[in-house]
């Protein structure tokens, strides 16, 4: 009998995705980061310190909430919301920001930088930096600064410098370019608090590890509140993919649980109209990692569109591509219009304004719930709250009301 041994996974890789595609200047500092992270993540004192901060400062555990009126309205599965929106600063991003800022202190660095799209990661990093006495610079596309003004003000009040990025599409991708340029220049004194499961190793696995508490908690809470630790379906939105990996990781080995990631379908299926990497992307290399990338035939990265700034990005975390290839996680998309509808649905039925990013997950849940029996459990990661999006939603509604009136 022929026994074929499985190829040993390479460090920093998920199958053939991941790696470290960065300028030489960052390689030795990444080696150091890997050493420090691998040591600290096994150190009891560090883990205890992180757990204390997550409990006392960040506000963990977050509730698991049975959304009864939403479930009744949709008529089917029982929907549970993992309330990451209730965390300090209003989104899951703070889990990773405090983790990496603690790490920064351990490395003896005094300054952190971050990129931000919707502003949630920027706010979380500015917050963690203030909390730990680090100086903080946040890069943000000028288009995103316009649509997420509230978060810009919050970062500045927290003592962070917010630097507008005017290149390219003036969104998350361009903010990451600029953050990488800062990092390659100041790497000896500065840590880059990358905000998603993107970038060179160790970021994809490190950011995942800081967020896996989401799914770990949900599993225990479901057992207590619903009598099973296995939901029939778990849904989360996927920009870079940090909140979804945070939710999914606890369930990956449990084949009873169907997992769905929701990308931004934007306003159409043409390249440039959306940010659905699994629906139009090709394998490529962007921002330090080999992954699925929206690009043209020449390998130039294309611009993306989503009503939600946090999902408006042309690449996806490499582990997601691996999970998709293995058939463990399914990836679909919700359009701008569906996300806006879901925003209103949750506001109306539950008195919760979700972040537009999280509204994509609600939209997907709303498609499945009616087709499932009342015995089924549907778990949705409510990754952030929607205060920041009130203006965007109003603008969207007004624009479409005008368009509808003109069509009449």
């Amino acid at each position: 009998m022929l026994i074929r041994s499985k190829p040993r996974p390479e460090p920093g890789y998920f199958g053939e995705f991941g790696g470290r595609f960065v300028p030489e200047t960052l390689m030795a500092p990444l080696d150091e980061l890997i050493r420090v992270y691998d040591r600290l993540s096994r150190t009891r004192a560090f883990r205890r310190r992180l757990a204390d901060v997550l409990r006392d400062y960040v506000g963990r555990p977050t509730p698991l909430y049975f959304a009864e009126r939403l479930s009744t309205e949709l008529g089917g599965a029982r929907i549970f919301l993992k309330r990451e929106d209730l965390l300090h600063t209003g989104a899951h991003k703070i889990n990773n920001a405090v983790g990496q800022c603690l790490l920064t202190r351990e490395m003896g660095k005094e300054r952190v930088i971050a990129e931000t799209g919707a502003g949630q990661h920027g706010v979380a990093t500015a917050t963690a930096a203030a909390f730990l006495g680090l100086s903080c610079t946040v890069y943000m596309g000028s288009e995103d600064m316009r649509r997420q003004r509230l978060n810009v003000d919050r970062m500045r009040l927290l003592g962070a410098e917010v630097v507008p990025v005017d290149s390219g599409s003036r969104t998350l991708k361009d903010a990451i370019n600029e953050a990488l340029r800062d990092w390659v220049t100041h790497v000896r004194t500065t840590h880059y608090v990358l905000g998603s499961v993107l970038g060179p190793d160790p970021f994809p696995r490190m950011v995942r590890d800081f967020h896996r508490v989401i799914g770990d908690e949900a599993r225990v809470q479901l057992k207590k509140q619903a009598g099973t630790d296995a939901p029939d379906l778990a849904v989360a939105c996927v920009g870079g993919g940090s909140n979804s990996i945070g939710l999914f990781t606890a369930f990956l080995d449990d084949r009873r649980v169907r997992l769905i990631g929701v990308e931004a379908g934007g306003r159409g299926s043409r390249l440039g109209e959306h940010a659905a990497r699994f629906h139009g992307g090709k394998t490529g290399v962007l921002h330090g990692t080999r992954t699925m990338v929206l690009q043209d035939d020449e390998g130039q990265i294309v611009e993306t569109h989503s009503v939600s700034a946090g999902l408006d990005y042309p690449a996806i975390g490499p582990e997601h591509v691996w999970l998709q290839q293995q058939g463990r996680v399914e990836y679909t998309w919700a359009s701008d219009a569906e996300a806006i509808d879901a925003f209103h649905l949750l506001a109306r039925t539950e008195g919760i304004l979700p972040a537009l990013e999280s509204a994509h997950a609600i939209a997907e849940a709303a498609k499945h719930a009616p087709r499932l029996s009342g015995k089924r459990i549907l778990l949705v990661n409510l990754s952030g709250r929607g205060d920041k999006d009130v203006e965007s939603v109003n603008d969207y509604d007004r624009m479409h009301a005008v368009a509808a009136a003109e069509a009449r």
């Binding site: 790696g19 470290r20 595609f21 960065v22 300028p23 030489e24 200047t25 960052l26 390689m27 030795a28 500092p29 080696d31 290149s167 390219g168 991708k173 370019n177 990488l180 340029r181 390659v184 220049t185 100041h186 790497v187 000896r188 090709k282 394998t283 490529g284 290399v285 962007l286 921002h287 330090g288 080999r290 990338v293 690009q295 035939d297 020449e298 390998g299 130039q300 990265i301």
Partner: protein
């Protein structure tokens, strides 16, 4: 022995460093880039670095970012750049190194790229976001099989282990990034540059070219004292940008390349005298 090796051997005999200008292919269009190649060679370029424009140039400062935008807006494609090299390389008599990001090569397929690059007469490939760990998987073997030099970078943060690794993976020369940071002109050279280059030269048995932030003849002369090659990029890109409406840009470029490379030749001549 590659054409790049020949250049460094010749420069060593002449007891001077090689002068290596950088140009962004397609800025402002590929026709002019062709004329620029001739002009740079006439002005005293020993090797020419030709930039492949990429939408997300994370290792480049504002000057080269603007050049990238202009090149992409002009519709510059990798295939067009390779065709240009194929038309010019033999007549030019100066080796051409492509200075690129990895994704355009990845999109083409590294083996197909290596074949096409070799067929076009490209002498070396330098990929700024591809350390030898990743380059060793596919690109280096593909380039080697085609006889094209794979050039890697070292920087002030590189450890001894990394210097050895980069030296093993490289052929032609090693590109030393003079400081941590992105491309672009600086008023002063890093104080430890000569010492750093010496340290590298001891460990790595390849010529060392230094780039990033070198923009004046005086800086070229100073770096030429320590290194085997001197790269000037943004200063030339900016010179072309500032004179965009000029009727004879190639002549302007030739003059500037001559002015920048002159200190290296003058030194060699003084030594011989």
């Amino acid at each position: 022995m590659s054409a790049i090796d020949d250049v460094f051997m010749r420069c060593a005999r002449e007891e001077r460093a090689a002068f290596i200008p950088f140009l962004m292919a397609g800025d402002p269009n590929l026709d002019l880039t062709g004329a620029f190649l001739d002009a740079a060679a006439a002005g005293g370029a020993d090797i020419i670095e030709l930039g492949v424009p990429f939408s997300d140039p994370i290792a480049d400062g504002p000057t080269n970012q603007r050049a990238t935008v202009r090149a992409l807006q002009a519709g510059t494609k990798l295939s067009g750049i390779l065709e240009l090299v194929a038309r010019r390389r033999d007549r030019l008599g100066v080796p051409i190194v492509l200075f690129t990001y990895f994704n355009p090569l990845h999109a083409r397929g590294v083996e197909r790229f290596a074949e096409q690059a070799a067929a076009s007469g490209v002498d070396g490939v330098l990929c700024v976001d591809l350390p030898p760990e990743e380059g060793g998987r596919a690109l280096v073997p593909a380039l080697r099989a085609q006889g094209v030099d794979a050039i890697f970078l070292l920087s002030p943060t590189s450890t001894k282990e990394r210097i050895d690794r980069v030296a093993r993976a490289s052929s032609g020369f090693i590109y030393y990034v003079s400081r941590t940071g992105v491309t672009g002109e600086r008023t002063a050279l890093p104080p430890d540059l000569a010492k750093d280059v010496k340290r590298l030269g001891k460990r790595a048995d390849l010529p060392i070219a230094v780039g990033f932030g070198i923009s004046t003849p005086a800086q070229v002369a100073a770096v030429g004292e320590a290194a085997d090659g001197v790269v000037v990029g943004s200063a030339l890109v900016r010179h072309l940008e500032e004179n965009a409406g000029h009727p004879d840009l190639p002549a302007l470029l030739e003059d500037r390349v001559r002015e920048l490379s002159a200190p290296l030749r003058q030194k060699a001549e003084r030594r011989r005298a």
